[in-house]
Amino acid sequence: MMAALSPNAQWVLFSTLILGVAAGIVGCLAHWKRQSLMSDALAHAALPGVVIGYVLAGVKSLPFMIAGAAASALLGALFVQWIRTGSRVKEDAAMGIVLSVFFGFGIMLLTIVNHLPGGNQSGLDGFIFGQAAAMVRKDVWMMAGLALLVVLVVAVSFKEWKLFLFDPRFARGLGLSGRWMDAMYTALLVLVIVVGIQAVGVILMAALLIIPAVSARYWTHSFGRMLILSALFGGGAGVAGTLISVKGEGWPTGPFIVIAASALFAVSFLFGARKGLLVGWVQRYIRKRRDARILDGNRIRRDERLPRTISEAERVH
């Protein structure tokens, strides 16, 4: 399959793989911080920064745009925190405000830039739904490098994350600064988002952070294994989505990555070994059969019909 792809497409494939892995890992952290929606707010908040970065650089320069995206996403995070602590507005509403205001502002800037001379060739539209095919080798290196950094940071401090996410109060008692971990978490989240928006787009970036983690939860009861599975799911979705999208001219990558991730979720939801729907059914069925056998053996009642379960039998009595 790889051989049939152009060298550039292979590079793009590699970068979306690493991106998916990083997003899957950071998504797990967000999941247990109970802040999945924060990733959506920050991804949308990155858009104005991308456009401003483009304008400042004068040309389409990924480092500038990534720096701009990071700055405006961080500003969004600060706003969410500021609204939440400084007013009676709850966190979800604060995230809703930041998401829509920043995104609206970003679209406005984008429209203005597109109307500037030469602006319609800016390729900025690709940042909305993702345009992995538009990436060049240099972009890919930068993306893959940053994504690898994210993976490494979490791998090295795995034990600390587990403690911090499970019991932040106890963690502080041991000397693990909550403020520092919070800052670290926001930094990782923003890093993954800015790395991912070119390939996946600001609108759908959150899906790559949320869906793999939720899917992984259906397969394991271990935090470490959940991280690894989520990374695999994210990486798989990135690769599958990119493969589909490079088949067509100008097809956006983001939607296909999200569809691939959702397919993995559907499989996990139905067949997951832990609390998957099917496993749950089978377990309930076996339990019912066992209860029925016990009742059969005891021949408790000679009614028209035997109660099917113990609970039903108790109700009859």
Partner: protein, 245 residues
């Protein structure tokens, strides 16, 4: 004898309400203190302020004659069971190992001897058989035992427990109290936020009666009187204490 904990003139507010007002008390080593008071008396806030989880308005807190920050490793804290998400994917042994993270060192992996220490603590709490059990499958009492085991491996000199007996079964309550008494007999100091006045005198040798400020503090026999209880709880508990004197 040096004080294990010295709180003086401590005040704190919560959402603009002053919940702690000029709280001062000193805890001696080797004591087992029950902290009691009505709901909203500031018991949890007191712990939070002492452990620097909540800001204070004024006053000082000294652990072993120094700041909490410097004495952290000598203080074992057992938060309320409900303060964490028990759905988190991990097992019992893993949670107990967390108590050793400070000693293992940041960014390092636990070794076999750390796991052995954690197992020994689980053994003490009668939870060794549950080491590989998912924490979400535990009952309330078992969760509390795991939390206590995690504090035990810390090998602290002062243990602070926030309502460890809330909603646990009789067997767990007995196991926890026995453990606390053992700690005390080994010269450790223990402070417990407690709710049940009936058992207070049996469990603790010292009592801290709290209602926004310290109503009384000292050996149970001399402090836990009908008069002091009435002053702590207002008129709500009239008649209580007549039987037990």
């Amino acid at each position: 004898m040096d004080a294990v904990l010295e709180v003086s003139g401590l005040s704190a507010s919560y959402r603009k309400n002053r919940v702690l007002d000029e709280v001062s008390f000193t805890v001696r080593p080797g004591t087992l203190t029950g902290i009691v008071g009505p709901n909203g008396a500031g018991k949890s806030t007191l712990l939070n302020v002492m452990l620097e989880l909540h800001p204070r308005l004024s006053g000082t807190v000294k652990f072993f004659g120094t700041s909490y920050r410097k004495a952290k490793s000598r203080v074992g804290y057992v938060p309320q069971r409900g303060s964490v998400d028990w759905d988190f994917p991990t097992d019992v042994l893993d949670v107990v190992l967390m108590g050793l993270y400070g000693r293992i060192g940041w960014l390092r992996w636990p070794r076999r001897r750390h796991k052995e220490l954690a197992m020994a603590a689980l053994e003490k709490m009668g939870m060794a058989d549950y080491a590989k059990r998912q924490i979400r499958q535990l009952s309330g009492g078992q969760q509390q035992r795991v939390f206590l085991a995690r504090a035990l491996v810390q090998d602290a000199d002062l243990y602070i427990l926030d309502e460890p007996l809330a909603g646990v079964d009789a067997a767990t309550e007995w196991a926890i109290i026995e453990t606390l008494k053992t700690l005390k007999n080994r010269g450790k100091t223990v402070m417990v936020v407690h709710h049940d006045l009936q058992t207070l005198a049996d469990y603790f040798d010292h009592v801290l009666l709290l209602n926004r400020t310290v109503i009384a503090h000292g050996p149970t026999a001399s402090v836990f009187t009908r008069d002091n209880i009435a002053r702590t709880y207002g008129g709500t508990l009239r008649g209580w204490g007549e039987k037990s004197g």
